[in-house]
Symmetry: C2
């Protein structure tokens, strides 16, 4: 497997476009469209929030209905959540516009929105946007990059990635883009993500792979503990690489899962590090836990704690906060078994050992924590399972962004 | 029932003292002691964090061991959590010092600590503090107030309250003090609280009353979602009011529960409104939920959301964030049943009705949200149960306080 330049248009047969539809933002692109030349097998995972945006309900119908997927239309600025029947009608109108412009059946069009909750989408601007984008669809890497920028809200960097790998002598490409900066929390993390591949694979297997990979990637990031109404991750596979269709869990399937895991981890870490107001990527790595689920829960609790996040921001090796977060996570453990370290490019420092705080070099601790990626490394000494979770520090800017986001 | 001036020394036979022990803070009082002239029946509730401070483990032995309680020694500055055997020894030494100075058996002495986790207590300063305080114990209201100030950490106001009520012609007094500003989250909320009464009541009944009242008071507040290692609430009843001992759930018991509920609600609200960096008390009031537990969960999710808290700070009627928080709380409901209002002294404004956002007067919304106490009022239209939760806004100062708390 090899990382290559590009994103959602890297795989064969995928094209993208974007435009300034003036949904809510001015003077920037705020709509994107991704299409495949041929219908795709698809898989998806969606928010677990019971208040689901209209577009999530729409996409669940498309993806779980058993049909194909050929186009995705995304807007930023307004989330189309808490919008009642009018919100559903906006999804329908968008899909109908794609059918009209591109002759792609509305039932194979997914829609996604991100932005303010509780505001109606301007339908005419949406359908005008679809018309504009239909004329500029393009399979270049630049078109993919432009699309990844159009779906940003408070994100400060666009997120895209692509890889190639071999299956039966054919080169397969898998690429994708995502956005997410606030309202980011596992289950599934609060985000939009769109992955495209030219792999040929059965739908059920693809869904199984995506659901499994999401658990250890997108569901392991948190910015603020708020699981959004709009989380959507879609994977489209158009089969244009020409490999024999994957129909069972063999070595080919494993190669695909490896690539999928790489792509999702890459995008997830990028989102965590670009959390609203963040200055750092904050990683928790828990090893030797009793179970995989314990390892996940503990690592998520660490990166999810406001007090831990503030300590990371302040470069304060206040390790008690991390232990405290582990303690209220719901996992049962004995603090006398635990070792805790701070790790970054600058070095590794143990601060807690088997129930007792250690004397440590505060200056060295600050040096470690000043790096742009800081890891809290915990050895539970209770089993063999491990997990990583990713978040970011809590800063003045997070508050600033969210105190006046809507206005 | 009537509110009166005073706090932990309001009830008959209780005395308090405090001193500058220089545990960690300089030039302020940082130790307090409360004693009863006679041994007390006692009840307590403690943190659910599995990483429990040494003092919590000590107090659980005292309270749940079935014996009496006659003195409580509290320090601020260092939490005595994650401190191993040395931490336990510090509790033992403190209790032993009380026995030596006041002839109160060490087994009837509770200890409590609040402050930095993972740092050892200076034992000699503690025992010196006990010696100093033993000489200045005083039953005046001023002594109670001084004690409530000595236990503060990042609190900006001290918290105390007292009430009287009648049982069988006897006037009963119930008073208390508490502290708590950061690491505040239900189960049980992160705090220290000390309640004293001259009521005569059986231990088991008293524990039942306290556990029940805590559910709707201290466990309904959150500042930052971090459940501390040190949460402790102790209730001492010395029986000196002279009433017939309450041995069953009769009208007398109900009068006591009413008073206990008032005192705990008062202290809980004071803690929420004095959350670290807070400028406002943020209340969520959920009515007509399917079950009491649903009502509690929904209201806690609202006040616990960072995004909701930032919107409250910014006076932004961004109601989607409150619905979003309800949606990920774990409670199942249909957004089409829900109505949502903003309420304060300035008025009441509906913003969401049965799945659809309403057009509303933004200026009026800002006016409502600028008050120092703001309520999000939600009618679920699904049942008859209700609950209130209390929190505070998320501000720059919360980040500031916690980015450099330890240094």
């Amino acid at each position: 497997m090899q990382q290559i330049t590009g994103g959602v248009t890297a795989a064969k047969g995928f094209k993208a476009a974007c435009c300034e539809a003036n949904i809510k933002y001015k003077n920037r692109t705020d709509m994107a469209m991704v299409i495949s030349e041929v219908p795709c097998e698809c898989a998806g995972t969606f928010t677990t929030n019971v208040v689901k945006a209209a577009c999530v309900q729409w996409d669940q119908k498309v993806v779980y209905g058993g049909g194909k997927l050929q186009a995705v239309v995304v807007n930023s600025g307004i989330a189309n959540a808490c919008t009642g029947k009018e919100g559903w009608d906006a999804c329908e109108a968008t899909a109908a516009a794609v059918e009209k412009e591109l002759n792609i059946p509305a039932a194979t069009v997914a829609v996604a929105s991100t932005g303010v909750i509780g505001m109606q989408l301007p339908v005419e601007k949406l359908t005008n946007g679809v018309a504009m984008m239909s004329k500029t669809l393009d399979g270049s890497l630049e078109a993919g990059t432009a699309a990844s920028k159009a779906i940003m809200t408070t994100d400060t960097i666009n997120k895209e990635v692509a890889v190639t790998f071999e299956i039966g002598g054919k080169t397969i490409t898998l690429g994708g883009m995502s956005k997410g900066s606030g309202m980011i929390h596992p289950n599934m993390c609060t985000m939009l993500g769109f992955l495209s591949t030219d792999l040929a694979i059965e739908k059920a297997l693809m869904q199984e792979a995506l659901s499994a990979v999401v658990k250890d990637t997108f569901n392991m990031i948190t910015v603020d503990g708020d699981t959004s109404t709009n989380d959507t991750l879609l994977l489209m596979a158009n089969g244009m690489a020409g490999n024999d269709v994957i129909t069972e869990k063999n070595a080919d399937y494993d190669a695909f899962v490896e690539a999928l895991n790489f792509v999702c981890t890459y995008l997830a870490r990028r989102m965590a590090g670009d959390g609203e107001g963040a200055t750092k990527l904050f990683e928790a790595h828990v090893i030797n836990a009793k179970s995989k689920e314990d390892a996940r829960t503990l690592s998520r609790a660490i990166v999810g704690s406001n007090l831990s996040k503030a300590a990371i921001y302040g470069c304060d090796a206040n390790f008690g906060r991390f232990l405290c977060a582990m303690g209220y996570s719901g996992v049962q453990f004995d603090q006398n078994d635990v070792e805790l370290f701070f790790v970054s490019k600058a070095g590794k420092l143990q601060v807690f050992k088997f129930g007792t705080p250690l004397d440590f070099d505060e200056e060295f601790a600050v040096k470690i924590m000043k790096e742009s990626e800081v890891t809290v490394f915990v050895d539970m000494h209770e089993g063999t399972e491990e997990a990583c979770a990713w978040g970011c520090d809590l800063t003045y800017d997070y508050v600033k962004i969210n105190a006046d986001y809507r206005s």
